[in-house]
């Protein structure tokens, strides 16, 4: 009797759980669905009311926006001077900034993380150094954009790849140090110690023994640093204006025109969204740990 009642209860409970689950997924996915479908709509289907929700039924999908944004030279000169031609160079800027800054942050950050995980610092304690580095993560970029602008202008880094790369490195570095420090603390140190006893220097040990073992963590923190840089906007707004504009900066600029071309901007938004999502899926296991700076093991 008791078991029957328990089972009946769990059926309604399960039903409820799946109901909530489906509602949550609809809420999460609908905005993505909307931007994805808008990228394949003719203008007339974007601005109509009631909105066209279902492809092939309520609107006929088209590749025209993609051709216009990606291959603007198919169109007349008047049209393609508006914005179309730039997407490749902006995409390249984003890729260079994100790759460069994530490589730099991972390289210097993992060295520091290794130092903090394996050696004892006397004058300033390890945890003081670690928390000093962590505190940088909380700095709102809005606080440092003005000095950055002036510094970068002085040394000629404004609107250059190197400039935006360096600025993004400052954002990812504290994160990389903390994530890798956690990682090194978990890697057993016996192998390294025997290597050192065999006469390997610290740097050789680090490169030949430690890095191969820590590779998954290294890749994950580099990927997350890549995403931070790829998604970053306020620094890009202050530090780039023409040659080094990243994709978010271009999209934000286009949405500020009086009558945004929703269908074209949706194409660009999709181009911006897809890489970080694909990367996130690849390093899914590390994301919770990474975003909480190692405080929660995902």
């Amino acid at each position: 009797m008791g078991t029957v009642r328990a089972r009946a209860k769990s059926v309604t409970e399960n039903f409820l759980i799946y109901l909530v689950l489906i509602a949550a997924l609809v809420c999460i996915l609908f905005p993505l669905y909307w931007v994805a479908t808008t990228a394949f709509k003719f203008p007339k289907d974007v601005i109509r009311y009631p909105p066209a929700l279902i492809p092939f039924v309520q609107f006929e999908p088209t590749l025209e926006n993609w051709i216009y944004v990606v291959f603007p030279w198919f169109y007349t000169t008047i049209v393609y001077t508006t914005h179309g031609t730039e997407i490749f160079s902006n995409l390249l800027n984003s890729v260079v900034a994100a790759t460069g800054s994530s490589l730099l942050a991972t390289f210097t950050g993992s060295l520091a993380a290794y130092g903090l995980a394996r050696f004892e610092f006397k004058r300033w304690k390890n945890r003081d150094i670690a928390f000093f580095i962590l505190s940088q993560r909380f700095l709102p970029p809005a606080v440092i954009v003005i000095p950055y602008f002036i510094m970068f202008k002085t040394v000629g880094l404004l609107d250059t790849w190197a400039g935006i790369m360096i600025a993004h490195t400052a954002i990812s570095l504290p994160f990389v140090v903390w994530m890798m420090r956690e990682y090194f603390l978990e890697v057993p140190r016996e192998v390294e110690e025997s290597a050192m006893i065999d006469g390997c220097g610290v740097f050789r040990t680090f490169i030949e023994i430690v890095l191969p073992v820590a590779k998954p963590g290294l890749v994950a923190s580099m990927m997350l640093a890549f995403i931070f840089s790829w998604n970053e906007y306020i620094l890009a707004l202050f530090l780039t204006y023409k040659k080094a504009l990243t994709l978010p900066a271009v999209i934000a600029g286009l949405t500020h025109s009086g009558a945004p071309l929703w269908w074209d901007i949706s194409v660009m938004a999709l181009v911006a969204i897809v890489p970080p999502i694909l990367i996130a899926l690849a390093v899914e296991r590390y994301i919770v740990r990474g975003l909480t700076l190692g405080a929660v093991k995902g």
């Binding site: 949550a24 909307w34 928390f131 970029p141 003005i146 995403i227 999209i251 899926l281 994301i287």
Partner: protein
């Protein structure tokens, strides 16, 4: 043995030096520089009245700040935004995590789905929601009236009373998954024994939740809430792309006021003073967070 100890001690400074130097140049120096600017008059606009080099004026900027209504408006907006979004994210995220923490089919895919909003480029998130919120042909008004939840269309971004709420809603969409995933990880790490003994002692479901689950989760909840709050104080991109702070200054956060002062009014000294006021608030939260981390770990 002796050799290894020597090599252990010496290069450790080399390991952390690049990171510490980078952070000194890229965050500490800019912070000192902008602190100096906060005590200066430096106005690049105004034609012949422009102040083209920083002139030290003492506390004048901060006195101006104390009577700047727009600053207080943006301050209130920021605090409401942070409080509203972090509280909602905590409640919804915790509820979802508790509900979905048991074994359900396709759990891995579920986690992946929840990653999507927070990995999406924020500028693209804002842009997407701007389409959803569109007063005349946005799908949100259409679907909500269709479902009978609303009787008349709402001007999500144009109505002074609800524009800030609309901004909070976007942040909730983007970051509730973070809370959910963190709490899910926390719940999975909980030991089973206390639950079994509590059930044997006849504890009610509420008691089990209150005295076992919630008290075991509380450190993780504190970390997640503090981390999210610090991040929410950085809010810029989403609002910049959707309402650009409007209507009026109804949704303008402090970060955007800094940007407007710096890039539009070219009043770099005063902008630095406003930025420092923002920093002061964030430092308070960051210190809480770091104290929490120091207590829990290492």
């Amino acid at each position: 043995m002796k050799l290894s100890r020597v090599s252990y001690r010496d290069p450790k400074l080399l390991l952390i030096a690049p990171t510490v130097l980078l952070l000194l140049v890229l965050t500490i120096f800019p912070l000192i520089f902008s602190l100096y600017l906060a005590f200066c008059k430096w106005e690049l606009s105004g034609g012949k009245y422009a102040v083209t080099t920083p002139v030290f004026i003492g506390l004048e900027n901060f006195l101006k700040l104390a009577s700047d209504e727009r600053f207080f408006d943006t301050l209130v907006n920021t605090v409401v935004f942070v409080g509203g979004s972090v509280t909602s994210e905590l409640i919804i995220g915790l509820g979802l995590a508790l509900l979905l923490s048991r074994e359900i089919r396709g759990r891995k895919y579920l986690r992946v789905m929840f990653l999507l909003p927070m990995m999406m480029t924020p500028v693209a998130v804002g842009y997407t929601w701007r389409m959803l919120y569109h007063p005349t042909n946005g799908p949100l008004n259409y679907l909500l009236t269709l479902a009978g939840i609303m009787n008349y269309p709402v001007n999500w971004m144009g109505d002074t009373k609800i524009a800030l709420f609309s901004m909070i809603l976007i942040d909730v969409w983007e970051w509730t998954p973070f809370m959910f995933l963190v709490f899910l990880a926390g719940l999975q790490a909980l030991p089973i024994d206390p639950y079994e003994s509590a059930r044997m002692d006849g504890a009610s479901r509420w008691q089990i939740f209150r005295y076992i689950t919630l008290s075991a989760l509380s450190p993780i909840i504190a970390v997640a809430v503090l981390l999210r709050s610090v991040e929410a104080f950085k809010i810029f991109d989403i609002i910049y792309v959707t309402t650009a702070g409007g209507p009026g200054t109804a949704t303008e956060p402090v970060t955007m006021y800094v940007q407007i002062l710096a890039l539009r009014e070219l009043s770099l000294g005063y902008a630095s003073a406003v930025a420092y006021a923002l920093l002061a608030m964030v430092i308070f939260l960051a210190v809480l967070f770091i104290a929490k981390m120091r207590k829990e770990r290492i």
